[in-house]
């Protein structure tokens, strides 16, 4: 019992409350106010034994003040250093000049000083009450540990290409998803962020280019050893992210590793006092890329030219033009296109994260909570995320550890029932429309559309997503060096969908008896999808050192089983649009339901051997043997080996004095095989599908085969070699990593078109070879000049993609004359742009007569398509390679400046050698009934303006819009992705609010972009095509971080 006194001050106080009279407590308070140590005027006794307790235990109750200053090695005061009395909650942070003062109970114990970028320092509490502390910069390199497949490794002994980023670096910018946080941070990792609405991030990640055609190119994502999606992780819970890039690091994941592996570890509690962290931000999202419609008069006159050019009567009379320009009745004479102003409006977002962590030697726990509420920039758009994670660690015995983690997340989302039609109709077929009349009636375009109506009144799609991951893991150190680890994880995902389409009539505002648009019956599509997956990992690891030999052997067994089921129900004709329960719909023949089940499994055996001699010569081998239920037994199993080696040249004697400048230099190389099993389930089964027909008015079922069966289907294999160097300069202040890789993917699972005469849809075939070659560079630096601290990195990647072989088939050309046209063909990057080359505009009739044209009736001002094969005809045979749709170069750089409590973080990011193809209204310059960009104003060919950039307008004539180099825009860009300014509130102020640390920040995302697409008001990361997507937004954020 009496042990409690020395262990916890809190319990003593509780004890005091129970046993000391109020008068005595007052006396105690007085002595405390004097600030002097004083012997207690009381005797204490153990309630159980009645023995007196020495008063030394009581001294702890009397606070003393310790003050001092923390400086770096070169003597400057360090602001914001956390000072904690070890093993307690008592702590503070240093002020701007590095000074601090802290009340502690008596001159006993140890003070712990910690600060990012410095080694944690522990100093006994000085009896004098005053202390000077010099902190050493964390040289990192030697201690840094990198998370790799099923294990961790010291960074210095790594022989493969792995990029790692720590959670705190990742979370420097406020983001709502991990993909966004990773963008621009790591070499070889291309993230294309296409915006996406709340809860529907449209950012995708490619590691070292695109390895396969059509099927899945996403890397494998493992969170604490369990396959998950990047979107499944609360960014605030991330301890570190490793991206495994070369085959030697990924081969241990075998059949799922061809596209790289992303390993995420979550934060766990550390031994010690309980710490509470709060991180919250408020943000405003705003559409920044709003294409701008041509001015009304310019547009009307353009239309007249376009009509006249094809021999049609003018679209507008002079009187009509004047009416539109001078009217005071914008209801009757609406502007041509106002959708970007009327449909989009700035939207708020908020995020709160709270974590509590701490524990003892035997039990530690970290609890984290997150709540995020994000509105969309259009009506009926919102996502709310609530999340909890509990990570616990038990030390059952000195040799046995058990950890259990649980993560539960609930996402409630709502969007307009068909959101894509909103974006589509903002640009297409909605000209000259009054968005909404004063009585709430929606205007309709000539074609019967109104995107505002579609967003506000067409209905809503609601989703509720429950996601639960439970994970239990045990370690048993059987004998020294031999450790058995077993892990069982279960992942459950339940998605409830409710898509309700409203019934409505849109009547003519001026003649209400005319119904101009009707959805006669409301309808509800309700869905329930569930997936359950368990993962089992058993790993035996043996590590030993003898002499200069370090050996580490790992062997493991793993299995994954996934079952899924879906259920859907449909009814229509609800009493009103507000009654949205499935049983309230018409109980007649229109009822419909559907469902399905799926199961797949993966069984794997894997092993790894690491051998290091004298910390200089490093060798590693990996192997995995994977069996997948997606293939027939004959082709089911495959073997994926890898080898790698490294040489730390800087450890050699001959390196000598070079070590002063280059203190670490390592050369490494690897080779290995990985696979891809991304084919549809049961694709080797010949199956028959249910179809409906009717005889005599009675519904009749029928069965028909719809897909060609391929029983020979098997793994896709990727062979990758990699060489790289890791170097550190000037006592680790500068780090440099470079890699070259050559990756070949064979037997690609291709969904190749097959002749229609077969009469079935194609299924995937193993055909074709794709190569990816590239370079990656990472340069990092840290420095401190006076009070100004700097930390930054620059990364740069080159990826060259090439389809080497299509097994004698192809090329495969997709797309159309007026949309992007892509080619998958030997000798070209996957999905290269394909189309006509052009040579300016025809200027004279003579010129046209001398040169072949695409269509009859070509006139001056039309595009001159190049006759590539010189056969005197312009046709599909003249189409040629026009550029790549995936960037060849990507780069990013992050810079972190700190000065007297202020921290400025800048993230730049960009891509080069990539082309974007505009299509639809953006490309048609008003020749159809779509949005017409202001860029065309006074810039189209007329006999008086022969040097115009754009061809002559020609109504309903798309001859000049055919896919050509004219409509390809250089998609290279460089942008200030994020800027954040953070202020660390001085410790003495924070302390008054009982805070250990506090900081406030403001941040902006997507503020500044240099790109050719700016003149089209398009985001450079936008996909080619008709710009029908939730746009990329700018984000203005205000936030606070508090530590209690």
């Amino acid at each position: 019992m009496h042990k409690i006194f020395t262990k916890s001050r809190l319990l003593v106080l509780l004890w005091l409350n129970a046993f000391i009279s109020p008068v005595n407590a007052q006396m105690f308070a007085l002595s405390k106010a004097n600030g002097t140590s004083q012997k207690a005027p009381y005797e204490f006794f153990d309630v159980k034994t009645n023995n007196a307790i020495p008063a030394t235990g009581f001294e702890k109750l009397i606070d003393v003040v310790v003050s001092g200053k923390v400086t770096s090695q070169n003597g400057e005061g360090l602001a914001g250093v956390t000072v904690i009395l070890k093993g307690t909650t008592t702590g503070t942070a240093t002020g701007a000049d590095g000074s601090f003062s802290l009340s502690i109970p008596g001159y006993k114990g140890t003070l712990q000083f910690s600060f990012v970028g410095f080694l944690t320092k522990e100093v006994p509490v000085p009896s004098s009450g005053n202390i000077q502390v010099i902190m050493e910069e964390d040289s990192r390199s030697l201690q840094d540990v990198v998370v790799v497949g099923y294990s961790t490794q010291k960074k210095v002994s790594m022989t493969s290409a792995v990029s790692q980023i720590k959670g705190e670096e990742l979370m420097r910018r406020p983001v709502s998803s991990v993909q966004q946080a990773l963008q621009g941070q790591l070499p070889g990792v291309t993230i294309i962020d296409r915006g996406g609405g709340p809860g529907k991030s449209n950012a995708f990640i490619r590691v070292r280019g695109i390895t396969t055609i059509g099927s899945n190119n996403n890397p494998l994502v493992m969170v604490d050893g369990v396959e998950q999606r990047l979107s499944d992780i609360n960014p605030d819970d991330i301890e570190s992210i490793s991206v495994l890039k070369d085959a030697s690091s990924t081969a241990i994941y075998g059949s799922r590793a061809a596209n790289g592996v992303v390993l995420i570890t979550t934060r766990r509690a550390k031994e010690g006092s309980v710490s509470v962290n709060y991180n919250g931000f408020l943000a405003r999202q705003q559409a920044i890329n709003n294409p701008q419609q041509m001015g009304t008069e310019d547009y009307m006159r353009l239309q007249n030219v376009a009509y006249r050019n094809v021999g049609l009567p003018l679209r507008f009379t002079e009187q009509q033009i004047q009416d539109y320009l001078t009217t005071t009745d914008r209801l009757k004479y609406p502007l041509p296109n106002t959708w970007f102003e009327t449909v989009y409006s700035p939207a708020p977002q908020m995020n709160h994260s709270l974590s509590v962590a701490g524990g003892s030697n035997t039990f530690k726990a970290r609890l984290s909570l997150r709540y995020q509420d994000q509105d969309g920039i259009l009506a009926n758009y919102n996502a709310k995320t609530s999340e909890i994670r509990v990570n616990t660690d038990f030390k059952v015995s000195p040799k046995i550890n058990v950890s259990t983690d649980v993560n539960y997340r609930l996402v409630n989302g709502v969007t307009p029932v068909n959101e894509n039609i909103v974006y589509d109709r903002m640009l297409h077929g909605s000209m000259w429309t009054t968005p909404k009349f004063p009585d709430g009636t929606y205007g309709l375009s000539n074609q019967g559309h109104n995107p505002l109506l579609y967003a506000e009144a067409a209905g809503t799609a609601k989703t509720i997503d429950d996601y639960i991951v439970g994970n239990i893991k045990g370690d048993w150190e059987i004998v020294k060096g031999l450790k058995f680890t077993t892990q069982f994880a279960s992942r459950i995902n339940l998605t409830t969908g409710k898509n309700f389409t409203n019934a409505y009539d849109v009547r003519d505002y001026y003649q209400p008896e005319i119904i101009r648009r009707t959805v006669p019956l409301s309808s509800l599509n309700e869905s329930r999808n569930s997936s359950r997956e368990y993962t089992l990992n058993n790993i035996l690891n043996y590590a030993t050192t003898f002499g200069k030999h370090d050996i580490n052997i790992l062997g493991g067994y793993s299995e994954i089983k996934n079952t899924g089921s879906s259920l859907g129900a449909f009814r229509q004709g609800f009493y009103s649009n507000d009654i949205q329960s499935i049983s309230q719909g018409a109980n007649d023949n229109t009822r419909n339901n559907s469902g399905g089940d799926s199961t797949w499994g993966l069984r794997s055996y894997f092993s790894r051997l690491n051998y290091t001699f004298a910390d200089k010569y490093l060798f590693e081998a990996n192997a995995r043997y994977d069996g997948s239920s997606r293939f027939l037994p004959e082709t089911r199993y495959s073997f994926f080996p890898s080898f790698s080696a490294g040489w730390r040249i800087s450890q050699e004697d001959f390196w000598g004095s070079l070590g002063d400048a280059i203190n670490e230099f390592k050369l490494r190389g690897s080779w290995g095989k990985t696979g891809n099993q991304a084919v549809n389930l049961y694709s080797y089964y010949g199956t028959l599908n249910l179809v409906n027909y009717t005889f005599s008015g009675v519904p009749t079922p029928g069965y028909v085969e719809q897909r060609l069966t391929n029983q020979n289907i098997t793994w896709e294999t990727t062979i990758q070699s990699n060489i790289g160097i890791d170097a550190q300069f000037l006592n680790n202040r500068i780090t440099f990593t470079a890699d070259y890789y050559n990756k070949r993917t064979e037997g690609i699972l291709l969904l190749l078109p097959i002749p229609a005469t077969i009469g079935l849809r194609p299924s995937a075939q193993n055909a074709g070879i794709v190569d990816n070659k590239g370079w990656e560079f990472l340069l990092g630096a840290r420095s401190k000049i006076g009070a100004l601290g700097y930390e930054g990195s620059i990364n740069f990647s080159i990826n060259q993609n090439n389809v080497a072989n299509l097994a004698g088939t192809g090329p495969y050309i997709s797309g159309s004359d007026i949309d992007p046209r892509y080619i998958i063909g030997e000798g070209y990057a996957i999905n290269s742009h394909w189309g006509y080359k052009t040579d300016g505009l025809f200027q004279t009739v003579e010129e046209i007569q001398k040169y072949p044209t695409l269509q009859a009736g070509t006139k001056p001002g039309d595009v001159k398509f190049v006759d590539m094969n010189k056969d005197g005809k312009i046709n599909a045979d003249d189409m040629t390679y026009l550029g790549t749709s995936f960037p060849k170069y990507t780069f990013g750089s992050s810079h972190n400046f700190s000065f007297n409590g202020f921290t400025l973080n800048l993230l730049f990011q960009g891509a080069a050698e990539v082309q974007t193809r505009l299509s639809g209204a953006l490309a048609e310059m008003g020749n159809q009934e779509g949005f017409t960009h202001k860029i065309y104003a006074d810039n189209y060919w007329t006999p008086e303006r022969t040097d115009a950039r754009f061809p002559r307008p020609a109504k309903f004539d798309l001859r000049n819009v055919s896919t050509s180099d004219r409509m390809l825009i250089n998609g290279s860009y460089f942008r200030l992705k994020n800027v954040q300014l953070l202020y660390q509130i001085p410790a003495e102020i924070a302390r008054k609010a009982y805070l250990r640390r506090a900081s406030v920040y403001v941040a902006g995302t997507n503020l500044l972009t240099f790109s050719k697409l700016n003149e089209w008001n398009l985001d450079p990361e936008a996909d080619s095509g008709r710009a029908q997507y939730y746009p990329q937004t700018a984000l203005y954020t205000m936030g606070i971080n508090l530590q209690f």
Partner: protein
Amino acid sequence: MKRIKYNIALLLAASMFHACSKDLLNTTPNDRISTDLFWKTERDATLAANAVYTFLEGVNIFTWDGLSDIGHRNTLFSVEASIERGQLDALNGKVFAEWDDAYTGIRAANNFLANADLVKTSNATLINRLKGEVKVIRAYQYIKLASLFGDVPLVTTTISLEEGRKLTRTPVVQIWDFVSKELTEAADMLDKTSSEKGRVTKGAALALKARAMLFAGRFTEAAAAARQVMDLNVYSLYPAYETLFSYAAENNVEVILDKQFIKDNYSNNVFSQMAPYSQRASGSFYVPTKKLVDSYQMINGRSISDPASGFDPRNPYVNRDPRLKYSIFVPGDVLPDGKIYNTRPNSNTADAIGYSFITTSTGFNVKKYINKEDLAQPANSGINIILLRYAEVLLTYAEAKIEANQIDQTVVNAINAVRQRKDVNMPALSAPGSREAMREIVRHERLVELAFEGLRYFDLRRWRIAENVLPGKVYGMTYLENNNLVTVEVQAFEKLFNKDRDYLWPIPQRERELNPNLTQNPNW
């Protein structure tokens, strides 16, 4: 104590091992029918045959008149409008879709025919009948392919990917031979009637054969097949042309082959595609042209261009062949919603030419199959679409006999039967005329009787008159403005037809990329 901890840990580990499942990798789908399970019972055969029916054409039949001289695709930037404009090429989506749809249907039929005998049953009659049904539907696909593309690969088995890449085009003559043989065989396998309405019968096989042989120019064969249908004594003309395409007349005595639909379960969208815009913003996909409206004779049997016909351009829709108003919405008609159809420009009705992008551009709309029952849910029609009816057989008989130069009273009788249907009752032809005169008569009768039933485009092609009747501006209604007659002209539109090229569609480009053995039609 320590031992207990170890035991707990071991138990934990053991429980994890327990999770290992033996059948982890042997997964069997339970949400689809594996081909291994199928083809066991006669029910399987029926179910597979049922599926083949889904590949019959439905609302798509309107395309064919829409592309001809009597119709027009109202939405200007559709693929069909580009075909009208003569702007089609081997990349045209419609060209590929027709090819693809036909071969998808052929595959389903071939699959049935290849497997039907696997079924263990004593009911050979049933299997035989189902085979007959499937053969007829397969022939239907080949008739369309041969008419559109000429020589096409003749696929009669379930070919593999490798075989698909090596097919060559079979001369069209052999396609017609195949169609003829198949339909003859099928007729022998089928009953005269079926208890399930909508199933293919003997009459359907023979009637389709008559159509195919007429298309192929094998007139004797066509006439013989038509005669066989007439001699079945199963079919007769439905007395009311006016309601022939209504729900009440479904499965009537005139229907020989149709695509059956049922609201909610297997519905079509004929109303939302074809009805006038004022009817709940329906689509007016294809609209009749002035050419069609003018083709209907006066009630006295004279053409409106005949000065003695009594035609009054200021009152153009009175005293006309009743089939005009039975088939086409003309100004002044009552619409399904009870309002009056008014297409006059600037009349401020939803059907006024120019009111909307979708509103008819000619001032007319198709009336066949537009039933007021569908007004409530325009995209959920249960009306059966007739693919072949007895009137066509009679006209095929007449035309084939005329072309075969076997003009006799039976020819006149056949034409008169159609003309003198109870609620049509146009003046009868008195006696057989010259072959040329009779040809004109039967072609005229085909045009007005079968307008917008999917035949006109093919008729123009086989008569080789497309270059004469198709090219040029598209005209619509005539109306009075300031006491002057004004004829509507479709804006910004001209039909084109290249006689050296357009009588056959191009083989789709993608097919030729995937199978270089496929040659291209001339001048594409």
